[in-house]
Amino acid sequence: MRILGLSFDYHDAAAALVVDGVPVAAAQEERFTRVKHDRRLPESAARWCLARANLDAGDLDAIVFYEKPFRKLTRILAGSIATFPRSAAMFRRAAGAWLDERLWVGPRIERALGVPPSKILFCEHHLSHAASAFFASPFDEAAVLVVDGVGEWATASLGRGRRAEGGGWELSLDAEQRYPHSLGLLYSAFTAYLGFEVNEGEYKVMGLAPYGRPRFADRVRAMLAPFGDGSFRLDLDWFAFHRDPARAFAARFEREFGPARAPGAGDPAEDARFCDVAASVQLVCEELVLAMARQAARRAGSKNLCLAGGVALNATANARLLREGGFERIWIQPAAGDAGGALGAALYAAHALGRPPRWEMTRADLGPEHSTAEAADALRRAGLAFEEMRGEDELCSRAAGLLAEGKTLGWHQGRSEWGPRALGQRSILADPRPAEMKRTLNEKIKFRELFRPFAPSAVEESFGELFDAGSPVPDAYRFMLAVAPVREAARARLGAAAHVDGSARAQLVERGRLPLYHRLISRFGDLTGTAAVLNTSFNLKGEPIVETPEDAIATFAASGLDALALGPLLVARRPSGKTEARRRPWAASETPSDGWAW
């Protein structure tokens, strides 16, 4: 059975193709269109998925949209009614968007892909998230927790997955908390207050938190009145997201916490007040995620947990879940945000309509790959001199040598990653030892806020020696979904990777799962005694991660990267005369994301 899952219209549109229960292709639309967080109907991604499997749209058994549009509309209308007459602007914006496109999801898919309406299905938003975790996990039975901003009505859901009596597996969500009482929207309101872009800057709040003390935690707890079982009720006096299309928080925020930080204002890490606010909301977020997970476990009676939804990308909260949640094993979908809904919707339908075998997601590289011939062509067109390595051994030796000399390397290998993290297929790599490397990467390539550290990738043989990973089964570390404390003795060797609180969002690289990347890092370890590298996504600030060799070359040319590896082709130095980093305008990032609650 061939099923295509689609998510679009809010942020991060994506397509995923599942054939007989196995995802064979999945990618976000932004990687093709080069528009960051592209939310349009993912035609390019969908067509690529079909081409990858040598299929036409007519060969599909079903196309599944990742939520129920009409149910979402009832929530928006109910919200407008409940906040009348203060929601006029919100209603205008929302109704406009709905009349323009959101009401016509089915017909738009029909038109774009040429399929009959009978083949178009709709999976609930949280069921899509839940399926993206459970049907990709190694578990026969597990508790399931979904936490995000909002889907149709649900903002958090508890459920379970298990072997069905008649064979196959079944997944159900048994309880939900509803809009507007949302942990994701609460976190986003603080993201906006701290001057970061909603749906994009949540990582920055998490990164800022360790610089502060959670001295406002009681005030944050008061604004959400927890019931003690993970559920809570937001005090809407603090918020505007439910009635105003342009504002997330109400005036009360500034009365209680002081003036909001202007977007683009100076280094927030130098203002203790902003750090303390970030630390406070992060702490409360962790407490709630823990309470929700315990509730999910209690109801399902399971020691395993599957986790998805945008809040599941909070690597610090996940670390506390691993340590304090009392679970034997936790599996988190790497594309935990709404892009991942495309994969979940397809997996859910595959298990609802048929009885495919279980599939475990052991690697994240479900995207496109590009041949050596393509890369060579692109390099020649760009006029870049390159050498072709004879095999992986030579490639890894040369690349590790460059890294050990302090060079920054663009590493473009195999199929691109599914989810927001670069995991060694579309990565920029560097030496993690000198603390200055953080500044070098920022000034030459990434141009991002200095208060955020870069993440390290370490091979399994030295992971435990470098990090205090704690958890017996480190699934979350494979996909960079949890932070871990850097061991005291390893601090000096990971000067650029450790955060101010001594933690790092480390990636575990196993020989059996990522052999090429494992070999590269091992070789770097042979040369330097530290089998870890800095790994940051291969893109410029505000741009999507590179997909094709052309994208990689353009980023190489526009940044201060020292070297580039496209498959076995190595550009070992920048051409003379092009050594200056040219900061590209990043237009796409400056458009505020739209419609985050409606």
Binding site: A82, P85, S87, R233, L236, Y348, L353
Partner: protein, 82 residues
């Protein structure tokens, strides 16, 4: 040679006209939606308040925020958009 500025003028005029048209359409849509807000959402809101409805669970006292979900058969629930 001489026709270029003139052609440019017509192109610019056409663009300006199209822009004005789009702006007018937007203004009209905004006016209609505002009208709908006060004529449809407004009475609905008054009615809802009169009936004591609380669609956002703002006032309702409760001991938990978890609401039980009923799930239909997986296959059938997939076919509905709402």
């Amino acid at each position: 040679m001489e026709s270029e500025p003139a052609a440019g003028f017509f192109v610019r005029a056409k663009e300006a006209l199209a822009r004005a048209g789009r702006a007018a359409a937007r203004a009209q849509a905004a006016a209609l939606l505002t009208l709908a807000y006060f004529l449809v959402i407004g009475p609905a809101a008054l009615l809802a308040r009169a009936l004591g409805a609380d669609p956002l669970s703002i006032r309702r006292a409760a001991r938990t925020g978890w609401i039980a979900r009923r799930a239909g058969p997986a296959r059938e629930t997939l076919t509905k958009a709402g």
